[in-house]
């Protein structure tokens, strides 16, 4: 089979061997239920609580503020719905941004359907949330402000410290979806004023099926599901101990080398972008020039459709992603790029390359080698139409 290069780390990442080694015993030998009192159960509980401490360290939280969930989407759902439905004093407004992940977008849509007021804050041409608009629209009726940390499509980092301050000034709770940023760049929930934070294991080299919700001590949340007292009733259900141990190992590895890894991955991304400009004509970079996640590059190639480009690059051995959700059955162009002011047709002509652990210069070279050929082919089919 010909060599394949993976440039879709914002979608999911490979499980690191050290992570797999750490989790395997919790599937085969130490398989106890963390709620059982015998030695099998105690082993599982011990591993789980140790893991909770490690995850807490990553974001400077206290272990008892860490709740394990099934995925980032579930964390977002609990944070938003759980806060809105338990909001005191009849507060019924949620403020979020126009560039959130669908886990936030569709939860907000459901809350709107249930009678809550939802306000969406716009972004500038670089995908940065309009902080002034947030200042203007926030009021005492606002229960929650949810602004993502690193955007999944462009990688652009949001000014969540400022957003948190504004939320707090109106007595609102502040949540951030940090699924893309956690483990890649430093996060300090205390310093940044974050009340709730969502993260996911499989974006940082742990397996799929494990997520985290950080909830600041003292915050009142209504659970979405009911059962035993697992995760203090916020997320009932027998804990995924192997997944939790894997996540903690991945977090441990990320913390050991975060700064170096960020420098290495940023350098690969920056080289890809600066050289693409030389080998290809007529390209537009989305979110370039402002603080971004280290490994995310979002580029528009006018004259070709993103999906056609995605499939062509896949044939050439490069796995990337479209900003457009067209491949998943929707036909609208990316809501993120459109919110940034890109024409729908330009937004539809975009490709995202996302890098992480395991990305090499050889992969970047391969893209630089094949992309011009693929673009020429597709541009000749569209013929400037």
């Amino acid at each position: 089979m010909k060599k394949r290069y993976y440039f879709d780390h914002n979608a999911t990442t490979p499980v690191r061997p050290e992570v797999l080694d750490a989790m395997l015993p919790y599937l085969t030998e130490k398989y106890g239920n963390a709620s059982s009192v015998h030695s099998f159960g105690r082993d599982a509980r011990h591993a789980m609580e140790k893991s909770r401490e490690i995850v807490a360290t990553l974001i400077n939280a206290d272990p008892e503020e860490i709740y394990f969930t099934g995925c980032g989407t579930e964390s977002d759902n609990i944070a938003l719905t759980g806060t809105m439905t338990s909001a005191r004093d009849g507060k019924n407004r949620l403020i979020t941004s126009k560039v959130e992940h669908s886990a936030i977008m569709n939860t907000a849509a459901k809350l709107k359907h249930d009678g809550f007021q939802i306000t969406y804050i716009g972004v500038d041409e670089y995908c940065r949330t309009d902080i002034n608009q947030l200042k203007n629209v926030i009021d005492n009726n606002t229960a929650l402000v949810s602004i993502m940390h690193g955007n999944n499509e462009t990688g652009v980092l949001q000014n969540i410290e400022e957003a948190a301050k504004i939320a707090h000034s109106a007595g609102a709770v502040f949540h951030t979806d940090a699924v893309q940023s956690a483990g890649k760049i430093p996060i300090d929930v205390k310093k940044m004023g974050i009340d709730m934070l969502s993260m996911s294991g499989h974006k940082l080299n742990a397996p799929k099926g494990i997520g985290v919700l950080y909830i600041k001590k003292g915050l009142k949340i209504t659970p979405l599901t009911y059962g035993g007292s697992h995760e203090r009733g916020i997320r009932p259900g027998t804990e995924n101990v192997a997944g939790i141990v894997a996540l903690a190992k991945a977090v441990d590895l990320a913390m050991q080398d975060m700064e170096n890894e960020a420098v290495t991955i940023s350098a690969l991304r920056d080289r890809l972008e600066s050289e693409i400009e030389h080998v290809v004509s007529n390209v537009l970079f989305n979110g370039r020039g402002v603080p971004r996640l280290p490994g995310t590059s979002n580029i528009s190639f006018p004259g070709v459709d993103g999906e056609a480009l995605l499939f062509s690059m896949d044939i050439e051995g490069v796995a990337a992603s479209t900003g457009s959700a067209c491949t998943t059955g929707e036909v609208e162009p990316s809501h993120v790029l459109v919110a940034m002011g890109r024409e729908p047709k330009t937004a539809q002509s975009s490709l995202r390359f996302s890098m992480g652990w395991g990305t090499t210069d050889a992969g970047v070279d391969h893209i630089l080698n094949r992309l011009p050929v693929v673009l020429n082919r597709l541009r000749s089919i569209s013929g400037g139409i």
């Binding site: 459709d305 056609a308 499939f311 036909v331 089919i381 569209s382 013929g383």
Partner: protein, 126 residues
């Protein structure tokens, strides 16, 4: 998600380009997904003797465009008029449900081109 035939027509599209002095031109676009297609025909003695297309769009849009040109080449105007949206999709062994609108684009552009040809033809001979 795509059939082998779709991928074949996407990777090796037939009859790409622009005709010099076409006898009929059809252009269709989908305002939602932004796909655009233009198809030109050359007609002699009521037979489509050449056809070319240009398409901005996804794999399905390019494949259906290519397929429709292959289906009409050498056909009479009446035969070409019979080619339906469904027939284009079937010739490709099917399309994913979300991509069915792409086959509409190709068939509609063909019918526009035939209409355009008939109008011009009527002016010359009518």
């Amino acid at each position: 998600m795509y059939t082998e035939k779709v991928m074949d027509h996407f990777e090796n599209p037939r009859n790409v380009g622009e005709l010099e002095n076409p006898d009929g031109i059809g252009k269709q676009g989908n305002p939602v997904c932004g796909d655009v297609m233009e198809l030109g025909i050359k007609v002699k003695n009521n037979i489509i003797e050449d056809v070319k297309f240009r398409t901005f769009g996804c794999c399905a849009a390019i494949a259906t465009s290519s397929m429709v040109t292959e289906m009409v080449m050498g056909k009479t105007i009446e035969e070409a008029e019979e080619i339906s949206r469904q027939a284009v999709a079937e010739a490709l062994d099917g399309l994913p449900p979300a991509k069915m609108h792409c086959s509409n684009l190709a068939a509609d552009a063909l019918h526009d081109a035939i209409r355009d040809y008939k109008e011009k033809h009527a002016k010359v001979f009518g």
